[in-house]
Symmetry: C2
Subunit: 300 residues, 2 copies
């Protein structure tokens, strides 16, 4: 299971009761917080997210609308006596900022906070269940996107067929790994006969803030859901470029060329009260587009 | 005119839709922001406060629930092209924190931000209209309270009586200053005959976070409105002391001994859903007590 819950779909200026960027990615039973704009801890409570289970936080860049809620959230976890380690990935200066704030407050956290400074592109975490990697976006300050992927599951044993072909249970682990079984008299039981393929691993890419550029296409190629900012409507491509942001059409073009399954757009400028037109415009280029609505969860 | 509008009446943990500490003091046509917990900018908008007119911000101490909304608020003022100078008073490390955040974001503000590090006690600002001073409270980290006072107005001329006694208009400024008028033939017209006393200057004291201690009494003596935290009900005096906070009774005792006119209590612990009992308990000691309710303005 892979899904993303939107906590904030607005750009920097608060407006229309929309909130700055924050999302929770749920991958099987793991929760990841992606960006943490001011007010995120209240949004997490409002949408009843069991945030005690968040063990990884990813901060894309150090514009305030993407992390000003982080110090408060970390502090709240401390007050509530969190015990589990917390793994925080973000631009290098974030560590210094948090340390300075904690020193000034005389705060000592009751849990271990591991900080990992983002550098370049590549894998950040890998377990037997999931893999998170980062990639550079194009923005006014160093900025990263994140890709969340299920790790390829083992093949699934078809118990009935395995019995028919007399494959002993002790060989099942090797069946899962894809090996053929060879019987005592040398007969080969092809793996595909007694197993079913694993479900295709699911993937989600979060593009953070990003000025439209072609190199993004290969970075998010083929994901099941792509989140791409669409700060402006299509008529403001020039303004979008000058501010290192994207328009509806640009987000949709990226989705189309990257051949993703679905596109979610967000980070809407405070200029705009109504959001329907964002979806309409993006659909002109990429029909499988939805607006990222606060409180909604989008499942692969 | 002197009043205080409450934007947040809760302590550190968000709860029950109550917000962390922030208030706006209105003194004649001046607005002062006092503390700026996370979400303050949204609260300012919610309560329709014309925050473009806030030229002074006072931060009591560097626990997050008193300032984590400040970076976002300053940033928003920048995005909205504020031009007026902004004067910020707070504990010294706040400057470094803000500078680090602005550097990381590549932010350059379109207005001048003057930072003044709080040190000791005494006057912070004085104009011909108002005076703001700070005093130390007793807390786990360095913490200051703030006192806002109207500057004593000049005496008011009673035009009718001044005419009857033939005081020339050219002498009016000296009448306002309290001088007697001496006529050409040496007759003394006592100042009190031709002027009325100025209205008594109004005053408000904000005690920030404060463990109960006697020395506070003289610091806030005689103010029209005293805001004192009452994080806990009276039965938790021990916990209050251990966490450098106060109870309802302790806040009320301070108000009583300091002989203030009215007491406002706030900074309620997230343990408590209902607040009525806070008022009941404080009134047992100091009847002129009110609960600081978010969105409400308390005028002297």
């Amino acid at each position: 299971m892979l899904g993303v819950t939107i906590l904030g779909n607005n750009s920097a200026l608060p407006a229309f009761d929309r909130h700055p960027t924050a999302q929770v990615v749920t991958l099987d039973d793991h929760l990841f917080l992606v960006d943490c704009g001011e007010g995120t801890q209240v949004q997490l409570s409002k949408y009843k997210i069991r945030w005690g289970r968040i063990n990884y936080i990813f901060i894309s860049h150090l514009h305030g609308d993407h992390y000003f809620g982080l110090p408060g959230f970390i502090h709240t976890m401390g007050l509530l006596n969190r015990e589990n380690d917390l793994h925080l990935f973000g631009p290098a200066p974030l560590k210094e900022i948090l340390e300075l704030q904690m020193r000034a407050a005389g705060t000592s956290l009751p849990f271990t906070l591991h900080f990992y400074a983002l550098q370049g592109e590549g894998e950040l975490v890998k377990t037997d269940k999931f893999r998170v990697s980062c990639f550079l976006t194009k923005h006014r300050v160093p900025c990263w996107g994140f890709k969340f992927e299920q790790v390829k599951a083992p093949r699934r044993i078809n118990i009935e067929k395995a019995r028919i072909h007399n494959v002993p249970a002790v060989f099942f682990d090797r069946l899962k790994a894809g090996d053929d079984f060879i019987t005592g008299n040398g007969k080969v039981i092809k793996n595909a006969i007694v197993t079913d393929p694993a479900p295709k691993p699911k993937s989600y890419a979060f593009c953070a803030d990003n000025q439209y550029h072609d190199e993004m296409i290969s970075k998010v190629s083929g994901v099941d859901i792509l989140y791409h900012e669409a700060t402006y409507l299509k008529d403001l491509a020039e303004r979008a470029a000058s501010r290192f942001h994207a328009t509806t059409h640009q987000a949709a073009l990226t989705a189309k060329h990257a051949n993703v399954k679905r596109l979610l757009i967000g980070h809407f400028s405070s200029k705009y009260d109504k959001l329907e037109i964002f979806e309409q415009e993006a659909k002109e280029v990429f029909p499988a587009t939805e607006i990222a609505l606060e409180g909604a969860t989008y499942f692969v």
